[in-house]
């Protein structure tokens, strides 16, 4: 027991030394970054407020802007979840680049497929599949 405990302390010192010099107040937790409770609650209530906002926004008549309004609110919510609940603000740059890079590829995928579909709109009609 004493052995393994001593070992842990050694790791504490090692990780403090090289990885997170910038986060002095978290230093004694090694590589752990426990989110403060106020932050978790603030993010949660912000998410709830944005949900109420998006439901309210859906009752307004915004015409073609509606989809963009709801997507903007959803993206703000998603950003809050990723940054704080998923700890992206404390994550390794490589993980961040991978994830954001994926979103770029998703945008390319959706964007090009939509452009293509509209170019051939008269030929491709998803609504005209022969019914049973």
């Amino acid at each position: 027991m004493a052995h393994s405990h001593a070992n842990q302390h050694e790791h504490h010192e090692k990780s403090e030394g090289h990885a997170h010099a910038g986060h002095g107040h978290h230093g004694h937790h090694g590589f752990a970054h426990p989110s403060p409770i106020w932050q978790l609650l603030a993010v949660f209530f912000a998410l709830l407020a944005l949900t109420v906002l998006t439901v309210y926004q859906s009752t307004l008549d915004l015409g073609n802007m509606e989809i963009w309004a709801s997507l903007t609110i959803a993206t703000i919510k998603a950003a809050l979840v990723i940054l704080f609940f998923m700890h992206m603000i404390h994550d390794k740059p490589f993980n961040i680049i991978m994830f954001l890079g994926t979103l770029v590829f998703v945008a390319l995928f959706l964007g090009f497929t939509l452009m293509d579909a509209h170019n051939y709109k008269d030929l491709i009609e998803p609504g005209s599949i022969t019914p049973k």
Binding site: N7, A32, F105, G127
Partner: protein
């Protein structure tokens, strides 16, 4: 580090020694890692890679969504009104709360508060169960109304059919959670009888979670019945309009005759619906004049609205499968926490499962406005 955790790691060290591993490697550190941080970072890279495949996988469905909606916005406007916004919003709140408890569980694990991890993951699983309960009500209601994927979609008639008692589909959905509730409660009883503290910490939250599924069902049924008047009205107006558009001068007798003649309409729904529609048509048309203008009879067809429901079931169904998978991995975390395994050097499993759970929430954040809130 609390006394229980010290005990736990003590026991594990012994188990380790028995297997003849390195003495300087604690049980929670796999032997191929140099130190705890390397182990954590490797796991984190792995879970991010997995989440990326999940995002790309879901993007295929979002692509189908975007294409169909951009080509046929009118079908989406028509079909979306059959989705219950209140239930969707409640489920959004439940998922957001589960994300809060999940993030809190990660905090507790980092601080070595294993009891906190048990409580927080327990609440997360309970929220997941409520979510699935509400979803079961939504699905069974839609199946009863014939709001099904393209090949099975039943064109909606003037007044939705009202079912007496519980939907048989809802009963089917309740079989597995019901069995789980019985088994888990018995298991909890056994833990109390044998004074097994660890088993109690596992079985307790799981039994409550199984119960929460039925809480979700109750909540869903209550809100569904509350919405029924408004919801019915909307659907009524929509269907009445498509009916009117096809037969502009339908008096009562004429309409009824048409409804019973119509071979393409399901005979169980058409006749009573047409009779009722005649009595309330004027009211619905007046109050929903704005809605009616944008709805054409073309959209109320299996190959139009039905395709919306194909996409709806595919996206929400795959999301629900992810919720179920989340419950399973959260249970794994719950067991480890009940055994007091987590501390500031070893909290990876909670963090990884947390990242997965937040991603499931992330997907729902987009699904809710994109499916339920179309006007």
């Amino acid at each position: 580090m609390s006394a229980t955790e010290l005990d736990a790691s003590h026991n594990h060290s012994h188990g380790h020694d028995d297997h003849g591993h390195d003495h300087d490697h604690p049980a929670w550190l796999a032997h191929h890692f140099d130190d705890a941080e390397q182990q954590f970072d490797s796991g984190k890279l792995g879970i991010w890679l997995f989440l990326i495949t999940e995002v790309l996988f879901f993007s295929g469905m979002f692509c189908a969504y975007a294409m169909y909606r951009s080509l046929h916005p009118e079908i989406w406007t028509f079909s979306s009104q059959f989705l219950n916004e209140t239930l969707g919003a409640i489920n959004t709140g439940v998922l957001l709360f589960s994300s809060l408890t999940m993030a809190w569980a990660v905090r507790c694990a980092m601080l070595g508060q294993n009891r906190g991890v048990v409580a927080c993951t327990g609440m997360t699983i309970a929220c997941a169960a409520i979510f699935l309960g509400v979803k079961a009500v939504e699905y069974s209601h839609k199946i009863d109304l014939g709001l099904l994927p393209a090949g099975f979609y039943v064109p909606q008639v003037a007044h939705p059919e009202h079912h007496e008692g519980l939907s048989k589909w809802l009963i089917y959905f309740m079989i597995v959670p019901g069995l789980l509730l019985v088994v888990l409660t018995a298991w909890y009883g056994q833990a109390v009888a044998t004074a097994n503290a660890v088993q109690k910490q596992i079985a307790g939250p799981l039994s409550v979670s199984a119960l929460c599924f039925f809480l979700g069902v109750g909540l869903g049924l209550y809100l569904e019945s509350g919405e029924a008047a408004e919801h019915g009205d909307k659907a009524h107006a929509a269907a009445a309009d498509s009916h009117d558009a096809a037969h502009a001068e339908g008096d009562h007798a004429h309409e009824e005759a048409h409804a019973s003649d119509a071979a393409h309409e399901p005979k169980d729904a058409a006749t009573p619906a047409a009779t009722e529609s005649a009595s309330t048509d004027s009211h619905a048309d007046a109050s929903h004049a704005a809605d009616n203008e944008i709805i054409s009879p073309d959209v109320n067809k299996p190959n139009a609205a039905g395709l919306f429901f194909s996409i709806y079931y595919c996206m929400t169904g795959v999301h629900a499968i992810h919720i179920i998978a989340g419950i399973l991995v959260l249970t794994w975390v719950l067991v480890k926490a009940a055994q007091g395994q987590f501390h500031s050097e070893y909290f990876g499993p909670v963090d990884y499962v947390g990242l997965y759970w937040h991603l499931v929430d992330f997907i729902w954040i987009y699904l809710f406005p994109l499916l339920y809130l179309i006007t």
